[in-house]
């Protein structure tokens, strides 16, 4: 009876892994598609990390803008990452997670800047934090915040 229960548990995990593999890769593909489309639309909104504004005449108005996202990897990728941690090396699944999160955060910041009529964003900064640090099963959820100063030309 106990062996039977264990077998069930094992099958359940396998089933979860298979489900997560499909839902996770669909979600990731969809997200990348939307990122690439929006990046194309916002391509003229230049984001710069420089601290000082070049002299502009007439002087522009400025406003603080930010964008953030909390994003999680799926169960399958987390499983792969855990395997990776035994052998060491690059964890590709987390690399793509952070890439998606950063690009999404920038896009949201740009969208906010566009609503204000800005043409550029200066001194952009990133802030990354992992949610539920310390909880073993929750590794792989990150928050990325992008913020900067939107430069709004007068008129």
């Amino acid at each position: 009876m106990e062996a039977f229960a264990e077998l069930w548990q094992f099958l359940f995990v396998i089933l979860l892994l298979i489900m997560a593999f499909f839902t996770g890769s669909i979600a990731e593909r969809r997200h990348y598609k939307s990122i690439i489309r929006r990046e194309g639309a916002l391509g003229d909104m230049v984001v710069i990390v420089a601290k000082t504004l070049p002299p502009m005449s007439p002087a522009p108005a400025t406003a603080l803008v930010r964008g953030s996202v909390v994003i999680s990897v799926d169960y399958f990728k987390r499983f792969l990452a855990r395997l990776r941690m035994i052998f060491g090396g690059r964890i590709h699944t987390y690399e793509s997670l952070l890439d998606r999160a950063r690009r999404e955060a920038i896009l949201r910041m740009q969208e906010q800047a566009r609503e204000l009529g800005a043409t550029m964003i200066f001194n952009m900064r990133f802030e990354t934090s992992s949610i539920s640090k310390g909880r073993k099963d929750a590794v792989g959820t990150v928050e990325v915040l992008a913020y900067g100063t939107a430069v709004i030309p007068p008129g």
Binding site: G24, V69, V70, N123, L145
Partner: protein, 104 residues
Amino acid sequence: MITSTLETVPDRVIREHLGIVQGSTVRAKHIGRDLMAGLKNIVGGELKGYTELLSEARDEAFARMIEQATAKGANAVINVRFSTSSVTQGASEILAYGSAVIVE
């Protein structure tokens, strides 16, 4: 109130530095949001509840910083930075800080 991540305000002169101002808030997660997050941890994707939660928290931290700057008599906060840290499992501290200045 002008807020900026830059060190200067275009076309304005900084008359006076009033020192650092900061605002922070510690937020715990919502149980309903946690359940959804548990599901999203399996299928992957954005945790919209958390994005909103942290965004609201950041608004509040920012408002507190502005409050402090207003109390000091500033009309701008420059060099604004945000910082996040997890205090305990399931709670994060959101901090906003910057230099309060008087510009004209």
